[in-house]
């Protein structure tokens, strides 16, 4: 009969917090690009928030500093791994990603628009789904497991070349019904603790819940390198952990529910800079 323990174990790095407000700090990447970590809330969210804020503002000084320099950001090791796989020939067609696309930099501007409606396939695609579509349909290679090492590394690499660009997912047209479904999930109070995403990340951001400093639960920083498990974590895996902590039956990474939730949560951060791979405790 434990309550609220799962998400609340990462006590080590938050221990230094005295005040729980988000910090007043600016994220300058590699002493070069200034990222937008707070900005006016997108129109669809203006009833709930004036401002949307990156999770970066809610983390401790050391954790924030790690993310500001690629040499200190442990997530960048996984980006390098993905760079290798970008150039590696795989599958029956004898192709690598590089056979069809130019360098990784040619993907700048892609990450901020995902999840995105794919007209030809008639489906809402996350970035991992798009990469898998290229693998299975164009390379004759096997799909990567959702949020598993190779997939999350590639998502981090695709994200890294878009850092500094504003999140900008479309929520209208063919995206609308998926977006509505995600919104519904966001406000549903699940599990034996009957908590919705909004209970914690909309109504109580900035406050401490046990040892954790609650952020707005944005995903502009995903994939996220967590000091707690020393690996990259996907947004679906994070959703799963948060739902599990309401003592609920979770959904699976890659499920229709999490695709919808990713679109909705991404849209709550429209305007914030892409930060992935970011660093969190």
């Amino acid at each position: 009969m434990k309550i609220l323990t799962g998400a609340l174990l990462a006590t080590v790095l938050t221990a230094s917090f005295v005040s729980a407000d988000p910090v007043d700090d600016t994220l300058i990447l590699n002493e070069d690009i200034t990222l937008v970590t707070r900005t006016a809330a997108p129109a669809h969210l203006s009833d709930a928030f004036d401002e949307v804020m990156s999770g970066w503002l809610f983390r401790g000084t050391e954790t924030r500093a790690m993310q500001a320099d690629d040499f200190d950001n442990p997530g960048m090791i996984f980006v390098e791994k993905a760079q290798e796989s970008w150039d590696t020939v795989e599958g029956t067609e004898g192709k690598s990603c590089a056979s069809c696309h130019d360098g990784m930099e040619s993907m700048a501007g892609v990450k901020p628009t995902y999840p995105k409606w794919n007209e030809e396939a008639g489906e809402m695609r996350t970035l991992q789904m798009q990469v898998n579509a290229c693998r299975t349909e164009r390379m004759g290679a096997e799909a990567w497991g959702y949020d598993k090492g190779p997939a999350i590394n590639m998502e981090a690499a695709l994200s890294s070349v878009s850092r500094g660009l504003p999140m900008n997912v479309a929520i209208d047209g063919p995206a609308q019904s998926t977006w509505e479904m995600g919104k519904e999930l966001y406000y549903t109070r699940t599990g034996q603790l009957e908590l919705s995403c909004a209970n914690c990340h909309e109504d109580n951001y900035g406050k401490m819940i046990r040892a954790d400093h609650l952020s707005q639960g944005q995903i502009n920083g995903f994939p996220v390198y967590r000091l707690k498990n020393t690996k990259l974590n996907g947004s679906h895996s994070r959703f799963k952990g948060c739902i599990r902590d309401t003592r609920a039956e979770t959904y699976k990474p890659g499920s229709a529910e999490f695709i919808a939730l990713e679109l909705y949560v991404a849209s709550r951060g429209n305007g914030l800079s892409v930060e992935g791979p970011s660093v969190r405790n």
Partner: protein
């Protein structure tokens, strides 16, 4: 109903002598103000044990959301709900029992979990496994644990 009795008994939480007088989670009677007059276990609460439950992550974990000065030794107290200092001045025993059993009766849509409730959940899980609930599903706290917590809260005077 049956389910909760089995699980509580299996966990050894209910002294068999108190069993007969126990109010099941589905049979708790709240008055118009959300208070519960009748003891849930029929056995007086143990404030010392209640103090442990309130601070223990594995039991009530009330400090996840509330600060309690009397529990200064428990690190990392949350600030989602009001500090519990003086709760014994502000509320009667029946009110405290109602709040701990199911705070949503008194405070509409409260974020505070309902600690003595077994029905009406959306996708209830098997504790923190992420899997669906099975027939071990029971209330977050047993009847006696609720009484112990209520007895402890009543001692919090300013």
């Amino acid at each position: 109903m049956r389910i909760s009795v089995i699980s509580a008994a299996a966990l050894g939480l209910i002294a068999s002598t108190a069993f007969a007088e126990e109010v099941l989670p589905t049979a708790v009677s709240f008055n118009d103000d959300g208070a519960v007059e009748q003891s849930l276990s029929g056995t007086a609460g143990d404030a010392a044990n209640g103090r442990i439950i309130v601070g223990d992550k594995g039991q009530g974990n009330c400090v996840a959301c509330h600060m309690v000065n009397d529990l200064a030794d428990v690190p990392f107290q949350g600030e989602i709900g009001p500090p519990l200092d003086g709760a014994g001045d502000r509320w009667s025993e029946a009110e405290l029992r109602g709040i701990v059993a199911n705070a949503k009766v008194m405070f509409e849509d409260s974020m505070m979990p309902s600690f003595y409730k077994t029905e009406g959940f959306i996708r209830p899980g098997n504790a923190y496994t992420g899997k669906a609930a099975d027939d071990t599903f029971g209330p977050l706290l047993s009847a006696q644990q609720i009484e112990d917590v209520v007895a402890y809260l009543a001692t919090l005077k300013e």
